[in-house]
């Protein structure tokens, strides 16, 4: 039995309504308890800002396309190298760090749980192998269904229960956490080098539209009672004028769940563009934010873009190819049979580009115009908008109008008339930030019930102590101190064990992978469905018996079970 006492912590714990109170946090065997005995290990938080461990609800850190990104970019690898030291392995990578690199850097920032943005079920084993080498964060995987053949056939046949059954079988096989749709329908079109232009366009051969895929899967998700909602990367990412598609996608979502959103739209910055071309692109963050404000069943994340070098990598194959045509940079593509697609291309976001400046403003506008921070979470779609190590700067920008004004002054001429950011006075406070970087994610992902995202009794003891005194810091003026503090915790505690101290990693770490299993009635078990099995072995190039990820791939497994209502 191990006990820990974090004394004198200045706690902000939104899920428990705590907005800044000095308290002691008692931990036993990895859980937060009422009190501990005198012999417990003590961490003196000395009045420093203490939050639940950070949760990233959309980040690309593990799996086939992430690894593609690493290995095609040795120049990115050499830009971020650290030597082996103590328990820390050597690391490499700036925008696409190695798995240990990701884990140590997230840990130093106080992050203890992460949701991998995209995993193709056929290649799930790869994602889980990389999860095991990201040892300081608990992991979850968004499982791609946007181009899934049996699902699209069920959608075409208007058979929501069959779609749900296929999802249940596949999530179990892949040990996945949630339904991810990236450019739904578009990945199948990309199998022929094509794309879909809007949510009402029909996918070649399969006779379904993206809208139908989205609607069916939202309902399937709720029938399966999965912890998270459908997680959507809308069609038309990056295309000027795409905001109408984004709002149209939001309009597809009924309000089906009292505890959380019914549809999570990710990296919405890339989907809030007005205009008709790069020449007249402008921000449509306002109508998009208003659409979110009117719909409690929607949660979004920002997808903030930050200036500098980074790598784009998504399952949106056709979009990445278009970026290649625009920039003529090196481009990788990986289409996954019967399932999905992906593309990778390095980019440089420049202050001299009006388009990039508008993109930068949009992410911030979304966060400032969405009234409820629970509905707009902080993320960069790491690394697409920028590497996650830039999150502290985003926090500072949201908390300080002065910082924003200084940045606005450096933007390319012609930007200001296309954006609303200069007119926005709102400055988010510490509580808002705590919501947007952990509490909101726990609610959106449905993992509060397993003890994530809060510091109440019964919570998992994932704790981040930031070197900052709230009563001595005016974030509106002292934004550099905000950045410094959020870059490196004084302490990161994971499951009751101190794992980082002032940025130094203390233990090798062992994580758990959280996945979802929805139990379906026997007649909906795809494992016994003759048609499913026949098509599987006929069209895939692996045998159905070799497809599911074996249990031993998860170092530690936390299966969130539910009973499907089919």
């Amino acid at each position: 039995m191990t006990e820990l006492l974090v004394k004198n912590a200045y706690v902000i714990d939104p899920l428990n309504g705590i907005r800044g109170e000095v308290m002691d946090i008692a931990v036993r065997d990895g859980w937060i308890v009422e009190s501990v005995k005198d012999g417990a290990e003590v961490i003196d938080a000395s009045g420093l800002l203490t939050l639940p461990g950070g949760i990233d609800s959309h980040t690309h850190i593990c799996g086939t396309k992430v690894n593609f990104g690493r290995y095609m970019m040795p120049e990115d690898m050499r830009a971020g190298r650290t030597a082996r030291r103590g328990v820390m392995h050597s690391t490499s990578g700036y925008s696409v760090p190695t798995t240990y690199g990701n884990s140590y850097r997230y840990c130093a920032m106080g992050y203890t749980s992460v949701l991998e943005g995209a995993m193709a079920p056929l290649e799930a084993r790869h994602t889980h192998e990389e999860f095991a080498a990201t040892p300081l964060q608990d992991t979850m995987a968004n499982t791609l269904f946007d181009g899934n053949w049996p699902v699209m056939e069920a959608v075409r046949d208007r058979d929501v229960k069959r779609a749900a059954a296929i999802v249940a079988w596949t999530l179990s096989a892949a040990k996945g956490f949630a339904i991810k749709l990236t450019n739904p329908g578009g990945s199948e079109a990309w199998g022929w080098g094509r794309n879909v232009q809007c949510i009402r366009e029909t996918v070649p051969h399969f006779g379904v539209t993206p809208a139908e895929i989205i609607e069916t899967l939202i309902r399937a998700n709720e029938l399966l009672r999965l912890p998270h909602s459908v997680h959507l990367h809308c069609n038309n990412l990056g295309v000027p004028g795409n905001y109408t598609c984004t709002i149209g996608s939001m309009e597809l979502a009924p309000d089906l769940n009292p505890d959380r959103q019914s549809l999570y739209l990710t990296h919405v910055q890339f989907h809030a563009y007005g205009g008709t071309s790069w020449k007249d692109i402008c921000s449509k963050a306002e109508p998009v934010a208003h659409a979110v404000n009117r719909r409690p069943q929607i949660t979004i994340d920002m997808g903030q873009m930050m200036f500098g070098k980074t790598t784009t990598m998504t399952a949106d194959g056709p979009m990445e190819f278009n970026l290649y045509r625009l920039h003529h940079n090196k481009w990788s593509n990986h289409d996954v049979e019967l399932e999905t697609a992906s593309g990778i291309i390095p980019v440089y976001y420049s202050r001299t580009s009006v388009v990039n400046c508008v993109m930068w403003a949009i992410g911030l506008e979304l966060a400032l115009l969405v009234a409820d921070p629970w509905q707009c979470l902080l993320a960069t779609d790491n690394p697409n908008g920028g590497p996650f190590i830039r999150y502290p700067e985003i926090i500072a920008l949201l908390m300080s109008r002065r910082y924003r004004e200084e940045e606005l002054a450096t933007l390319a001429p012609g930007t200001l008339s296309r954006i609303t950011l200069p007119a926005l006075d709102r400055e988010l406070d510490w509580h808002d930030i705590a919501v947007m970087t952990r509490a909101g994610q726990a609610r959106a992902l449905g993992i509060r019930s397993i003890g994530k995202g809060h510091l109440g009794i019964g919570a998992e003891a994932d704790i981040a102590v930031y070197p900052l005194r709230v009563d001595e810091t005016d974030p509106s003026r002292q934004y550099q101190d905000v950045i410094r503090a959020f870059r490196k915790t004084a302490w990161t505690v994971k499951q009751g064990r101190p794992v980082a101290r002032d940025g130094e990693i203390l233990v090798p770490g062992v994580n758990k992978t959280i996945w979802a299993q929805s139990r379906v009635p026997a007649e909906f078990d795809m494992g016994k469905d003759a048609e499913f099995a026949k098509n599987f072995d006929r069209y895939y190039t692996v045998r159905m018996s070799n497809y599911p990820v074996q249990d031993l791939y998860l170092q530690r497994s936390l299966c969130m079970e539910s009973e499907a209502q089919l």
Binding site: Y71, H89, S90, E123, H126, G193, F321, R325
Partner: protein, 429 residues
Amino acid sequence: MIVKDVICPFCACLCDDLDVHVEDGRVTGVDNACDLGSHKFMTDHRLEGPIRRTASGWQEIPLEEAIRETAELLEAAERPLLYGWSGTCGEAQSAGVHLAERVGGVIDATTSVCHGPSILAIQEVGHPGCTLGQVKNRADVVVYWGCNPQHAHPRHLSRYTTYADGFFVHNAFKERKVIVADIRGTDSTNLADEFIRLQPGGDYAVLGALRAMVRGKGSVVPPEVAGVSREQLQRIADLCKKAKYGAFFFGMGLTQTAGKYKNIRNAIELVDELSRHTKWTLTPMRGHFNVYGFNEVCTWMTGYPYAVDFARGLAFYNPGETTAVDILARRECDMCLVVASDPAAHFPAEAVEHLASIPVVQLDPFPNLTTAFARIQIPVAVSGIDAEGTAYRMDGVPLRMRKVLDRGCPDDASILREITRIINDGGGP
């Protein structure tokens, strides 16, 4: 007993539909495998236990002693080389990378004498790829360039290309066109609808000419390029542009011909150019069943796919400098650990000569040419036969190799971890 859906541990086709017959702890037959795969399952002249070379001949030694001596040799070395890796599973590859990092050595895989150039090209221009099922289900044009799949990947055509019916291609043999490029006729060129016969060393020029033609600049190209007529080249370019889905496969004919990675780069850029008109993908015909696995594991752990030098405590990558052949030929390394490969059989004489002058330890179930240079050999279980583990197919799909029998042999991963533990417990540099 028949074990079904076994994954073949020979080549990177990773055929996973083998039925393996096992009686009394031995494989008695294999269904669905090609000759290469069957042979691997049926071969059984394994080393019985660890051996050490002495002045008077081979001596059998206990496993702990072999492991301990290996640990000591690695720790004492100033520039150890850990080479091979393609014939074993990811768990061992991962342990190998940790070990190389721990001892400040260089880790490299057979990639560096095989598809290394493909990776170098990908690092310049990216990889427009797919999983093999995309090809099976959609492709109407297939290109094999500088490879002979009939010999090296015998079931490739029946599982993934020429003969493989798919969702959109109901009669593959009739509906697919096959283009084969090679410097001479082979069993694979005999199947081609178009055989591009080019002069040795002419691949770069021919691929460049095709690129120019796809860009509409064919008029610049002279009447003949490396022995191929401009007419045939234009015909090929048109065929490729009109494809609904084209799949480009290539092998050593491109990677080991003068220019090496530049040849692959040109092929990738041709596929990129064609992708502006229609759908094309490219896949390297990886050789060993899990060589790509090493590249994957090494990349997520170190950032680089092979040839990683840990001498300075961080990962340094520079093929030509940190690759095994170069390090051996320059006599830079003072100790070599060989796992799951046979460098003495494949490396240039200069490199092999150096192996004779340094301590070499080999982890391998079978005696091979490298055994002649080894001071110690430790037999291990054969991955995919008596050891389980993860392997990555040539297109990146990860599968779990099965264990169909037990010989009481330790696997590579456990031995490597034990070596690392001994070094960590005993202290070191």
